[in-house]
C-alpha cells in the first residue's frame, strides 16, 4: 500500500484511541487549568479584589511559564513516548507490522495523530485564556495584543511538534523512555537559564525566544539575569530542523528495528 494512504489509515485509527483516552482527559484538565485561572481572575476583579498582575501580564506568565516551560514538554513526553511503547506493551504492534504497509507510515500516522490530539487540547485553551484575561480590564487595546496571541499559538504548535519528535525518537530507541525524557526536561533544559551560549544547546531556549512574554526572574534567576533573546528566524530554522531530524531518525530506526514482545 502507498505511504500516505497507509499513514492516513493509521492516523484515523490512532486518533480515535488517543482522543478518547484517560491520558487525554488528564491532559485536557491540565491544559484547561489556565481557563479556570482566568475565570477566577475575572471573578476576583468583579468582586473588587485588587489583583497584583494585569490580565494580559498574567496571560503572558501562563504562556511563558506554565505552557512553554512545563506543560507542553510534559504533554509531548507522555504522548509521544507512548506512540510505539503502548503498542509494544499491549502486544498489538505485531498486528500493525504484519499489515502490507511501510513501517514509516505507521510512525508518521501515529505522530500526526499525536500532533492533532495535543493541538486540539492546547490551542483552544490558549485562545480562551487569552480572551478572558486580555479583556479583563476592558477591550480597549485588545487589538494591539492580538499579534501576541497568534505568535503564542504558533509557539505552542512548534513546541508540541519538536518535543513530540524528540520523544518519539526516545520512545523508538528505549524500552523505558519516560525517565530519560524527564531527565532531559528537568535537568538538561535548565541550561537555558544560564547566560552566554548555553541556551542555544536547549530546545526551550529557542522556544522562549519566540514568545514575547518575559516574566521577571526570581531567586537565582535575578542574579543570572534573562538570557539573550535569539533571532526569530534562527529559532524557527533550528526548531523545524530538529523536528525533521528527530522524526526522520525515529522513522528510520522504527523501520529497521525488530521488536520482541515479552511473553
Amino acid at each position: 500500500m502507498a505511504f500516505w494512504p497507509a499513514a492516513r489509515g493509521v492516523l484515523g485509527l490512532a486518533l480515535e484511541g488517543m482522543i478518547w483516552s484517560r491520558r487525554s482527559l488528564v491532559m485536557a484538565v491540565l491544559l484547561g487549568l489556565p481557563v479556570l485561572f482566568a475565570i477566577v481572575y475575572r471573578a476576583a476583579r468583579a468582586a473588587s479584589v485588587p489583583p497584583q498582575l494585569g490580565g494580559f501580564e498574567l496571560y503572558g506568565h501562563i504562556v511563558a511559564l506554565y505552557y512553554v516551560r512545563n506543560l507542553l514538554p510534559l504533554a509531548a513526553l507522555f504522548y509521544a513516548t507512548a506512540l510505539v511503547a503502548d503498542e509494544v506493551e499491549g502486544r498489538t504492534l505485531t498486528y500493525l507490522l504484519t499489515r502490507p504497509i511501510r513501517r514509516g507510515s505507521i510512525l508518521v500516522g501515529k505522530f500526526v495523530a499525536y500532533v492533532a490530539t495535543t493541538l486540539c487540547l492546547a490551542l483552544p485553551a490558549d485562545v480562551l485564556t487569552f480572551f478572558l484575561l486580555a479583556t479583563a480590564h476592558g477591550a480597549s487595546g485588545l487589538g494591539s495584543r492580538v499579534p501576541d496571541l497568534f505568535r503564542d499559538l504558533g509557539v505552542i504548535a512548534l513546541a508540541l511538534l519538536v518535543y513530540g519528535a524528540l520523544f518519539t525518537l526516545l520512545g523508538v530507541l528505549l524500552r523505558r523512555p519516560v525517565i530519560p525524557g524527564l531527565l532531559f526536561l528537568f535537568a538538561w533544559e535548565l541550561v537555558a537559564n544560564l547566560p552566554g551560549y548555553m541556551p542555544r544547546l536547549t530546545i526551550t531556549g529557542y522556544l522562549r525566544s519566540l514568545t514575547r512574554h518575559r516574566p521577571p526572574e526570581e531567586g537565582l534567576g535575578v542574579l543570572l539575569g534573562q538570557p539573550e533573546v535569539l533571532p526569530a528566524a534562527l529559532c524557527l530554522g533550528v526548531l523545524i530542523t530538529l523536528a525533521l531530524v528527530f522524526l526522520g531518525a525515529a522513522a528510520w530506526i522504527f523501520s529497521r528495528r525488530d521488536y520482541v514482545m515479552e511473553q
Partner: protein, 324 residues
C-alpha cells in the same frame, strides 16, 4: 462522523473563531489611532520634534494612582499654567495629552484632545486676560504677550487645544491645513518609533538620542572606577497604572555589542539590589519586578511596581529625611 474527528473539528472551530475575533479586534480597536497611539491631529505637530510623550487621560484618571494622589499639575509648570488659564479638569474634559519637544517641555508644544467647547473656552481665556489673535483655523490666544515668555493657546476645532511657545503653536496651526514638510508627518524617524508603541497604554514616550542627552556618559562603580553607558539611538517606552505600575522600555543601542553592554550594566544593578534583599526587602522586591533582555541591537526593560511597594517607597522618603 467518528467521535475523534468531531472533537478535532470542534477544537479547530474554537481556534478559528478566536483567530477571527482577534483579527476583528485588530482592525476595529478603538485605541488604534492615526500612527500608533497618536491621533490624526498630532500629525500637525512640528517636524523638528525630537521626542513625544503622551498620556491617555481617561485611563490615568481611572487608575488607582490618580484616585489616591489626584492631579498634581503643580509639578509641571507649563501644565499648571494651562490648567489655570483654561479651567479644564482632566477627569471631566480631557481624553489625551501629547507633549512634543526638542530638548524639554519648556520649548515644547502640548496637544490636548478632549470634550470641551472652544467658544466657551475662548471666552474663559479672554476673561483671564488672554489676547485673541486671528489665525487660519480656529482661534489663538496669547498669554503674557508683553512678558519675557509669551505663551499661546490655540483652539483649532472643538475638542482640540494646542499650547506652547507662540511660534510653535502658530506652526502647528499652519500644519493643520496642510501636512507639509514642516509637520510631524514628514518626520519618518519619530513616526517609525510611534508605530512601535502599542495602542492602549496609559502613558508612552518616544524619542531619539536627544531624549537621553542629559544622562551621564559614565557611571561610577565602587571598586572598579567607572563604567561607560553606551549611547542610545532611540527609546520607546510605554506604561500602565492598573493594576500595578508597569513600564516597558525598548532602547536601540545601535549594535549588538552595545546592547549587551547596556544589558549587562542593568542586570548588574538589578543583581546588586537583589543581594540587598536580606537587609532591605523593598530593594529586593524592586529588583524582582525588573527584567532586562537583549534582542540583537535592542534592549528591553520591563518593570512592575505594585502600589504597596510604591507606598513603602513614599513612606521611606519622609522618614529618611527626618533621620537626616
Amino acid at each position: 462522523m467518528p467521535r475523534g474527528r468531531l472533537v478535532v473539528l470542534v477544537s479547530f472551530a474554537v481556534v478559528a473563531l478566536g483567530v477571527l475575533a482577534g483579527l476583528l479586534a485588530l482592525v476595529l480597536d478603538p485605541a488604534r489611532a492615526a500612527v500608533g497611539p497618536l491621533a490624526a491631529e498630532g500629525l500637525a505637530l512640528p517636524a523638528d520634534t525630537r521626542f513625544l510623550a503622551g498620556v491617555d487621560v481617561k485611563r490615568l484618571t481611572a487608575s488607582p494612582l490618580y484616585r489616591k494622589y489626584g492631579w498634581d499639575s503643580s509639578r509641571v509648570e507649563s501644565l499648571n499654567e494651562l490648567v489655570e488659564a483654561t479651567g479644564l479638569r482632566p477627569e471631566r474634559d480631557l481624553d489625551q495629552v501629547v507633549v512634543a519637544g526638542r530638548s524639554g517641555i519648556a520649548d515644547g508644544v502640548v496637544l490636548v484632545l478632549g470634550r470641551f467647547d472652544v467658544s466657551r473656552l475662548g471666552a474663559t481665556l479672554e476673561s483671564r486676560g488672554a489676547a485673541p489673535r486671528t489665525v487660519q483655523e480656529g482661534a489663538l490666544y496669547v498669554l503674557d504677550a508683553n512678558g519675557p515668555r509669551p505663551r499661546a493657546i490655540a483652539l483649532p476645532a472643538d475638542g482640540v487645544l494646542v499650547a506652547g511657545a507662540v511660534a510653535a503653536v502658530e506652526t502647528v496651526i499652519a500644519n493643520q491645513s496642510a501636512n507639509g514638510p514642516a509637520s510631524l508627518a514628514a518626520n519618518e524617524t519619530l513616526l517609525g518609533l510611534l508605530r512601535r508603541v502599542k495602542p492602549g497604554a496609559t502613558f508612552w514616550i518616544v524619542g531619539d538620542r536627544s531624549l537621553l542627552a542629559g544622562l551621564p556618559a559614565e557611571l561610577p562603580v565602587p571598586g572598579s572606577g567607572t563604567v561607560r553607558i553606551p549611547p542610545l539611538k532611540s527609546v520607546v517606552a510605554t506604561g500602565d497604572l492598573e493594576p500595578v505600575i508597569s513600564l516597558a522600555a525598548t532602547a536601540d543601542a545601535g549594535d549588538a555589542a552595545a546592547a549587551r553592554s547596556l544589558s549587562d550594566l542593568l542586570q548588574g544593578l538589578i543583581a546588586l539590589a537583589a543581594l540587598q534583599a536580606a537587609r532591605d526587602p523593598v530593594l529586593g522586591e524592586l529588583a524582582s519586578g525588573v527584567s532586562v533582555t537583549t534582542e540583537e541591537a535592542t534592549v528591553h526593560v520591563h518593570a512592575r511596581v505594585p502600589y504597596e511597594l510604591l507606598e513603602s517607597l513614599r513612606r521611606r522618603g519622609p522618614a529618611a529625611e527626618r533621620r537626616e
